[in-house]
Amino acid sequence: MTLLRGRGYASVNYPTGMNLGGDPSQALIHATTMGGFVVSLSSVDLGQGLKTVIAQCAAETLGLPMENIIIDTADTDTGPHCMGTFASRGTHRVGNAVIMAAREAREVMLQVAADELEVDAADLETDGSGFISLKGASEKRIHISDVALAAHFKQGKTISGRGIFLKEPSTPVPETGEMDPDSCQAHACTVAEVEVDDETGVIEVLTLHNAYEIGRALNPAMATQQVEGGAWMGVSHALFESTEPYYPASRAHGPIDFSEYLMPGPADIPVQTSIILERPASNGPFGAKGIGEMTANAPIPAIANAVFDACGVRLTTMPFTPESVLRGLDELRAGAAVQ
């Protein structure tokens, strides 16, 4: 029994947005009497944390603290249309829609504040603290709660905004496939190190090193969660997962529970080291590109390439089962014996 180590590389890109576009999202923002801002959406959070990231976009654009932002989703009666959470579109489309809505609301907010302070709206600024103050004379200021009260009960103004982001749909040319499929592309390069047991065929992924370029990490901790969780899913896809173990010949013995549908447990995870690059997308919210899907992709071929590096077996069928490794080793030995 020998444990063989190897290293493999993979570099990929991934598109942001529903393929070919035509996938709009809308947002509505309105201020409450005391300066809370409700962001009404019909968008869905799958656990990637859309609600948090969207609140960051709203807070940043309005120039207010996170505590002032209330995210209200998903209800198709009260939230305007959103195409849905898929195709790595959530942060990009919903973020852009929220920014547009927040800009409109901010404009009204500043005008109300300007009228209260008897200055020009163009001379006002926000610093994220909740105060709207005069540029260069910050002691002349008003708190957002007073602005909101004034708007509601004194000036009769609605501090509200509407937003939509739509990448216009593109139709592929049937003959050539000429098309405009995406808004931007994120990038990744993964280096995998594996250990292959030449007696059992078991592959262990020891380490994954990832470099990601995602436009802008709106929340670095949450971007990290995507990188880590996706890499784990990639390892799982590569080594274990199949709903049809005998694909394509037979549908028999398909797993029906988690004891048969194998995925790596906490003791099976590789050590991950990752770094993020940012090349802001001109059409992304604060430059952000989508990251939600791509993080499982580069690890898979990196692992396949590392297995080849380790033991000379080229795995061309997913998942990379111990059986396929052993058959590969047998073939290598048979080939060597023939020579």
């Binding site: 993979a10 948090t52 120039g63 898929f86 496939g177 390069c189 990601y212 370029e213 709106l218």
Partner: protein, 459 residues
């Protein structure tokens, strides 16, 4: 406290500003407190005293005509309130992408005269308790007459293969073509001029999303006659619109609530449970729950499509790939779902993040007698990347070129024309390769470390 991936601000310095209050900061997740206290509300986290349950009787054959459906014993199970067949579905035939112009309507909500995959829904039982619904579904007796089964994507396209779809072909028709095509340059000329030709085959099996929360919904009839749908759908309006079309009811009759999902990964974009649950709720005027068991989630809900990919490359001695031909087969299973879209997305992704002057691709959406596949994390791309990056590694080794240098030589840059004729912008493949190399101590010669995405090739 939490370990965060650092951002390397040395790259794209002149393109990055970072003058923000909350953007780029590690703000605490708004949902974390609810998660750790068990207070986060998922669709199923509600008490409804008069809740009824839907369970489905599903096909036990891969491909068969339905000769007879005997509901008599099912109706007699105590607690069974209603039995729903295709006759109860106002608009039984649909395709989930109809709203963006994809045709034809190729899938029945409930099977009519035949079944095309193991697990296809035939009869829905509505009952007072989950146990009664399960028993009722088990008591449905279906008589089948088997039809030939097609399980292999290339066999499905072969001359003389049994045609399993009533539209007449075992493939989705893309504007008169049998595949989504990419035709860029002239690959045959490219191959003729190449120093080396490499051709290899890759394949994958179907993969399940396996979210910890299974697909499901609760439909609550409202006093005014509207239906309130609580769902873990990934797309609220998408679900609403498709459900309304199937129910043949005004869109304003439906409301979808949700937005908090226990993992989706693309597995909760098909509209699989809401239409039947709405029909049930309307029939009995009570709240109805229809949730997939884990077994249904694994074997009946759509998986990631299995794919088979052939890549032929023409490569020069200096490592430039001058021609790439890809034949890609996506196993859509029995019905279209999102696969026609995903196969186009696969075509758009080819030939990978590399600038290759001649590219030819045929991406086939192929029907077989298996669980319809649909969207999953990396739709159209994940398996292609496995094939493409394995191919890159094999070529680099064959030519004895460093694997990262080989990729850098071919990497796309700003201003390059992609195979689908879009001009590349915002590219960064070069930089992620450089940075990953540095991360693992893989030496790159100076000329490779000096490359940049924003510098045109040859400059």
């Amino acid at each position: 406290m939490a370990r965060i991936n650092p951002i390397d601000t040395e790259y794209f310095k002149d393109e990055r500003t970072s003058d923000f209050n909350v953007i780029g900061t590690t703000v605490q997740r708004s949902d974390a407190r609810g998660h750790v206290t068990g207070r986060t509300v998922f669709f199923e986290d509600m008490m409804l005293p008069d809740l009824a349950f839907v369970k489905m009787h599903r096909s036990s054959r891969h491909h068969a005509m339905i000769v007879d459906v005997d509901l008599s014993q099912a109706r007699q199970v105590p607690g069974v309130l209603r039995v729903i067949t295709h006759a109860d579905v106002p608009q039984n035939w649909y395709t989930v992408l109809r709203l963006i112009g994809v045709e034809p309507n190729d899938e029945p909500v409930l099977a009519e005269d035949r079944v095309l995959y193991l697990g296809e829904p035939i009869v829905a039982i509505v009952a007072d308790t989950e146990a009664a619904a399960i028993e009722g579904a088990a008591q449905v007796k279906v008589t089948y007459s088997d039809l030939p089964i097609v399980l292999d994507v290339e066999e499905a396209l072969a001359e003389g293969a049994p045609v399993i779809k009533q539209a007449g072909t075992n493939y989705f028709v893309y504007e008169g073509h049998h595949a989504r095509r990419i035709r860029f340059g002239d690959v045959e000329k490219g191959f003729a001029a190449a120093d080396h030709l490499f051709e290899w085959r890759y394949s994958s099996a179907p993969i399940e999303h396996a979210p910890t929360e299974t697909t499901g919904c609760i439909v609550i009839p409202q006093g005014g006659g509207r239906l309130q749908i609580h769902s873990n759908t990934q797309a609220a309006f998408f679900t609403l619109d498709n459900t309304a079309l199937i129910l043949d009811r005004p869109f304003t009759d439906l409301q979808v609530k949700g937005g908090t999902v226990g993992g989706g990964f693309g597995g909760k974009v098909d509209v699989m449970v809401e239409p039947v649950a709405c029909i049930a709720a309307t029939l009995i005027n009570r709240p109805v729950k229809f949730v997939y068991t884990r077994e249904e989630e694994m074997q009946v809900s759509s998986p990631r499509a299995a794919e088979r990919i052939y890549i032929k490359d023409g490569v020069m001695n200096d490592g430039r790939i001058v021609a790439r031909k890809v034949m890609l087969y996506v196993d859509a299973g029995a019905y279209s779902r999102h696969t026609p879209y995903g196969t186009t997305k696969a075509a758009a992704h080819l030939p990978g993040p590399y600038t290759i002057p001649n590219v030819y691709a045929d991406c086939h959406c192929v029907y077989t007698n298996r669980t319809p596949s649909s969207a999953m994390r990396g739709f159209g791309v994940t398996i292609a990347d496995f094939a493409l990056e394995s191919q890159m590694d094999r070529i680099a080794r064959a030519l004895d070129i460093d694997p990262l240098q080989f990729r850098l030589r071919n990497a796309y840059r700003d201003g390059d024309l992609k195979a689908h004729r879009k001009i590349a912008s915002g590219t960064a493949l070069i930089e992620v390769i450089q940075r990953a190399a540095a991360l693992v101590g893989h030496d790159l010669p100076e000329e490779y470390r000096a490359m940049s995405s924003s510098t045109p090739r040859g400059a």
